[in-house]
């Protein structure tokens, strides 16, 4: 019997997770089954595997967006360990504050009828967070009377614009609609929205697969920089691109048919793969890279 979640350094713990995965064209229906999986604070975990292995489903369950048939998903919150699915709808919404999301298709995930700064300020508005005003020495200067609504809105937008600048979107672009931005820029906006409320976990589902190769590289670079700047946020990344996982992740979990067949440090797993699935995936990736004449050293 696994120990009760301690959550001293774990941000998220999964125990005895089961979910019925419907049939996909790749194969038979199967049961997603994860006996235990922990996400540590500040780490980047990559979920890899062939298509249909259940990695996006597992991500959705971890993010609290899909209810498993059995098992617990426990999150470390300010009020102690909280199970994601056992509360009311209202409590579930309150827990959303700890999560950020970046989806695969940057065209679909942003509303073209709003401007970028408003979109990024959404999580702040939903959870009634305001930017904390500080003076030049960084001391909190929150006045003791309640902030006027327009002032709060101003604070939120200022924080949104500051986050956008961190991801490389200028103030001008922040005033426009996402339709005026390229795919890579839209994905940066999605990343800014995911980070603006300083979440504990950010979930990314194939964040670069819909982008041009050169744009992918700039997003990977950005994610690395952001991670260095803020070491308290953990990232869970689903990708079928193993080299990408190598560049971004600390640990990697390889899934096949709903089971985690291998889990460990990315260096260890990729250099000495234990399971056949991992070896096969690594082989394919290596073949493609060899064809590029990758001989630099």
């Amino acid at each position: 019997m696994p120990s009760a979640p301690q959550l001293t350094e774990n941000v998220l713990e999964l125990r005895d997770l089961a979910f019925f995965h419907p049939p996909s064209f790749r194969g038979q229906p199967f049961r997603l089954h994860v006996p235990a999986l922990d996400i540590r604070e500040g780490e980047v975990l990559a979920l890899c595997g062939p298509s249909g292995s259940g990695k996006s489903t597992l991500l959705a369950i971890m993010a609290g967006l899909l209810r498993p048939e059995s098992g617990q998903v426990t999150l470390a919150t300010a009020n102690g360990p909280t199970e994601l699915f056992s509360g009311t709808q209202h409590e579930w919404r309150r827990l959303r504050r700890y999560f950020g999301f970046v989806h695969q298709d940057p065209r679909e995930s942003l509303n073209d009828r709003r401007n970028v700064a408003d979109i990024v300020a959404d999580p702040l508005q939903i959870h009634r967070l305001a930017g904390i005003p500080t003076d030049f020495e960084g001391r909190d200067t929150t006045p003791w009377w309640p902030l006027a609504p327009s002032r709060i809105r101003h604070e939120r937008l200022a924080l949104a614009v500051a986050t956008l600048q961190r991801v490389g979107i200028s103030g001008d672009q922040a005033e426009r609609s996402p339709a005026a931005l390229s795919g890579g820029q839209r994905q940066r906006v999605a990343i800014a929205r995911a980070l603006v409320a300083q979440p504990r976990l950010v979930f990314l589902d194939e964040p670069t697969s819909a982008l041009d190769v050169s744009v992918q590289a700039s997003i990977v670079d950005l994610l690395r920089t952001l991670r260095r700047e803020n070491e308290q946020t953990s990232y869970v990344l689903v990708t079928h691109d193993l080299p990408l996982a190598r560049q971004l992740a600390d640990r990697v979990a390889i899934l096949d048919q709903g089971q985690i067949v291998e889990l460990g440090d990315v260096d260890d797993v990729f250099q000495q793969p234990a399971s056949a699935t991992t070896r096969e995936l690594l082989g394919i990736a290596q073949n493609e890279l060899d064809a590029l004449g990758d001989d630099s050293d």
């Binding site: 993010a63 967006l65 579930w92 919404r93 309150r94 827990l95 959303r96 504050r97 999560f99 999301f101 989806h103 298709d105 679909e108 995930s109 942003l110 509303n111 073209d112 009828r113 709003r114 408003d118 979109i119 959404d122 999580p123 508005q125 939903i126 959870h127 929205r193």
Partner: protein, 285 residues
């Protein structure tokens, strides 16, 4: 399943259609039987048997003819006209629809929009005429007018509602609505921030189509002598002038009326374009 066998349910559902077509095309075998004066207005025989023992499954009509064949004959005549009309309508829909779908012509689109306004006005007109004439002379004018306005409103709602429903349904499947939900927004919040900006266009379209219709119906019915009571609106004004003047001036007044209505119908469309709100519904997210 390799071979396409028509399943039982499809065969069964064809049966009523075939039955109706048969009645329409070949009524002769159900022609009314000559009457017997003594047997007019008889109830069905399974309810009460007739005096001479003949079997009338649906009773007889006012001329003493068995009602069943009379009904079939009447149904046949009505169906023939209905089928002919449907055939012509389908041809018209196909022709106009294919042309409209292949050419992106704003003029054609405006014409079709105006046409659908006109077409929708007819059943409304019928109901309005019925209501206006059904109210007694002494009924309070407010109530009469309110009932007529209520009819107009009720007729305007379904089309607009369907438009909005389609839009909301499509929006519900988008990524940004899913993102809003994932970030913990309440349904009201999601509606206000994510869905409402997309509905503004549809609301504008509804205003643009309903507003001129109210005016057109009022003026049009006024020419038929049906109008709001104790109400000096555009309709009454124009028709009074029309009734009191000679034919030349009357024609002029009629042209002015048509121009006013067409202008009112076009003005919201022009305003929509001026504000950059497109009428084309092709861009569902």
């Amino acid at each position: 399943m390799n071979v396409r066998v028509p399943r039982g349910i499809e065969v069964i559902s064809l049966a009523p259609i075939v039955f109706l077509l048969a009645i329409a095309i070949a009524p002769g075998w159900l022609s009314p039987v000559p009457s017997r004066h003594s047997d007019s207005f008889l109830p069905p025989s399974w309810y009460e048997s007739s005096s001479d023992g003949a079997w009338y499954s649906l009773g007889t009509d006012y001329l003493g003819r068995p009602f069943a064949p009379v009904l079939c004959g009447a149904l046949s005549d009505t169906l023939r006209i209905a089928l002919l009309g449907t055939l012509l309508a389908v041809t018209g829909c196909l022709a106009l629809g294919v042309i409209h779908g292949s050419i992106a012509s704003r003029g054609l689109e405006a014409l079709i929009a105006a046409g659908s306004l006109g077409v929708m006005a007819i059943p409304e007109a019928a109901v309005l005429i019925t209501i206006a004439t059904a109210w007694p002379r002494t009924a309070p004018p407010l109530r009469v007018n309110a009932s007529m306005v209520a009819v107009l409103v009720l007729f305007a709602v379904p089309t607009g509602a369907r438009l909005i429903a389609e839009r909301v349904r499509a929006l519900g499947k988008t990524g940004f609505v899913a993102a809003s939900h994932a970030y913990g927004a309440t349904p009201f919040h999601t509606f206000r921030l994510e869905i409402w900006p997309h509905l503004r266009e549809d609301v504008a379209w509804i205003v643009a189509s309903v507003l001129p219709r109210f005016v057109a119906v009022e003026v049009g019915l006024a020419y038929l002598g049906v109008e709001y009571r104790e109400f000096e609106g555009l309709g009454r004004t124009l028709t009074k002038s029309f009734n009191n003047l000679g034919i030349g001036t009357a024609v002029f007044q009629m042209l002015v009326t048509i121009l006013v209505i067409v202008g009112l119908a076009l003005l919201p469309q022009l305003l929509l374009r001026a504000f950059g709100l497109s009428q084309f519904r092709g861009n569902l997210p």
